[in-house]
């Protein structure tokens, strides 16, 4: 019996196949056979991490036929984090899968404040305190808009830069609390004060 459940991470291999990736190192036992149809929410196997069995479920937006299984026909397959456990052929269900890749195009060409270096983003000075800034707020040059944890030290993220307006309205804060960002990732999507 399983003690917890994991939604698998999906990675497109090509236009017609999506891979479902191991969430941890451990021993994978598939519950589906090659050729079988699977869809979002379905349990497709378990991963054993030190005797604890975790159910593995298909993420939203993925549906199709199992084209390949890690370990071929074996029932207990040692895997590492990020290994492809199942390859799902989505060719026959292209319409269903297409909805998953539409997010993220909205900020292109617009004003953005980007991460000056790579690290972990925090929107609050501490978990119990209010956020530095929220969507709809006006941001000014010199204002602290978050924290970036780099090599175990916390650095203030200060809104500044020659290409940015003195003031702007925050459209959205792109990373979630605690997300890893790399240099150049958009932190704040902005709109100039004159626009509506």
């Amino acid at each position: 019996m399983s003690e917890s459940s994991h939604v698998l991470r999906a990675r497109p291999r090509d236009g017609e196949t999506t891979e479902l990736l191991a969430p941890s190192v451990g021993v994978f036992t598939p519950a589906v056979a090659e050729g079988q149809l699977v869809s979002a929410g379905q349990v497709v196997g378990t991963i054993d991490v030190l005797g604890v069995l975790h159910d593995l479920t298909v993420p939203g937006g993925v549906a199709g036929r199992v084209a390949q299984r890690a370990g071929g026909g074996r029932s207990r397959v040692p895997v590492q984090y990020g290994d492809a456990l199942l390859a799902i052929s989505t060719a026959s269900m292209r319409d269903a899968a297409a909805t998953t890749s539409a997010v993220g195009a909205g900020t292109q060409g617009a004003l953005a404040f980007v991460a000056p270096m790579s690290g972990r983003f925090y929107n609050r000075p501490s978990p119990t305190e209010p956020p530095f800034i929220a969507a709809g707020d006006t941001v000014q040059q010199g204002q602290t808009v978050g924290l970036l944890e780099v090599m175990k030290t916390f650095n203030r993220l200060v809104y500044q830069g020659d290409t940015l307006p003195k003031q702007a309205t925050v459209e959205s804060i792109v990373p979630n609390e605690g997300d890893d960002v790399v240099r150049g990732d958009v932190i704040l999507a902005l709109r100039s004060l004159s626009e509506k």
């Binding site: 969430p23 190192v25 984090y81 270096m117 790579s118 780099v150 090599m151 030290t153 890893d180």
Partner: protein, 455 residues
Amino acid sequence: MLTFAPVSRFRRLFIANRGEVAARIARACDALDITPVFGVSEGDRDAPYLRDREWVVLGPSRSSESYLARERIVQAAIQTRCSVLHPGWGFLAEDPVFAALCEAHGVTFIGPPAAVMQKLGRKTPAKAAMARAGLKLIPGSAGVLRDADQAREVAEATGFPILLKAESGGGGRGMRIVRGVADVNAAYDAAQGESLACFADGRLYLEKLIEGGRHIEIQLLADKYGQVVHLGERDCSVQRKHQKLIEESPALVLSDAEREQTLAASVRATRDLGYVGAGTMEFLLDAGGELRFMEMNARLQVEHPVTEMRTGIDLVEAQIRIAGGERLWFSQEDIDLRGHAIECRINAEDPSNGFSPSPGVIERWQVATSGDDRVRVDTHVESGYEVPPHYDSLICKVIAWGKDREAACDRLSEALQGIRCDGISTTIPMHLAVLSSEEFRENRYDTRAVPGWEG
């Protein structure tokens, strides 16, 4: 002719760490003819030290799901058929629960037994054990404090300034300096809040604050049968915000009498504790020239090469052989502490900009190798390596040996000048300034400020 190959019952060893220490442990495995297997995070899977090695990805870059994920690590060790695990330093190296988990699943943990580690992690029982063995302590509370009222009473009896410290603390967190009775309540609440948040234990104890002392530590080695030796002391007083920057041995500021007496007492205390493996006792050298016990670290230290350069003993090999059940193969009399050794830690930080972190790609990394065995360079980086932003900033250690302190310092300076690192900032310029400063060369400094460096 009879030859004696290195003895070890281990064939495959799991390295539950990353970076410089992971590469260091693998070198010891090579010497003992053991196959190392690296447990790595997603962010480290392309690291150069994994080339031509066995490795397994534990989880994503964030440590809580990889280098700190106890169950994943033990699962990975079993899955890759390793019978022994080296935790390195940091991460889970001093976690008794992890040590116990390893043992429960038949994986030998390289370090002291979980119960000993647990005792050393709690500060006041460790101090009481050390006092029984004859080590001097920093004056303060007899154990943990009941509340702020008791803290005020003990503080007045001890004399200000005092330091409030977390019972389960470390790394400078959960600590508050108090200079007068009026400030005790506020400091008590702040220190308790911080230590609850960091260590899930809000208990505090109190010590007299000794300002401007020197940080001296003693390297110990114990087998599973109660044999204990010391490998001399190290002086680690060049620090910034409790982070060591330069370490050397011997500590010339120490009197011979105080050194001998403390070395002997440390060996006694280590034996009494039932300690196993490599360990380090840390002391504060006060203005009166007396060494006062602070804590014992139940693991390999970053600065262990300083001791290796003086003794010729490989501490990581010794840890592995001891974990395999070998008796210590030398006695105290066999250990010859030769000359002077000094190490500097090169971090990916910009020392002229408040030591701000400097992750990124090392475009070019070059170390002038003269083939001189009196200089040692321990590193995991090379040209093209990207220093990830997720972990600590140590990228390299350079260690030099000389017949005396002058010779060792000169040789270290020369070695540092032969390192080229393009693409990121490092602490090399600071080390060169320290090594050539009068304060450092004449040994006139303490832990409060870095000698020869403003900033």
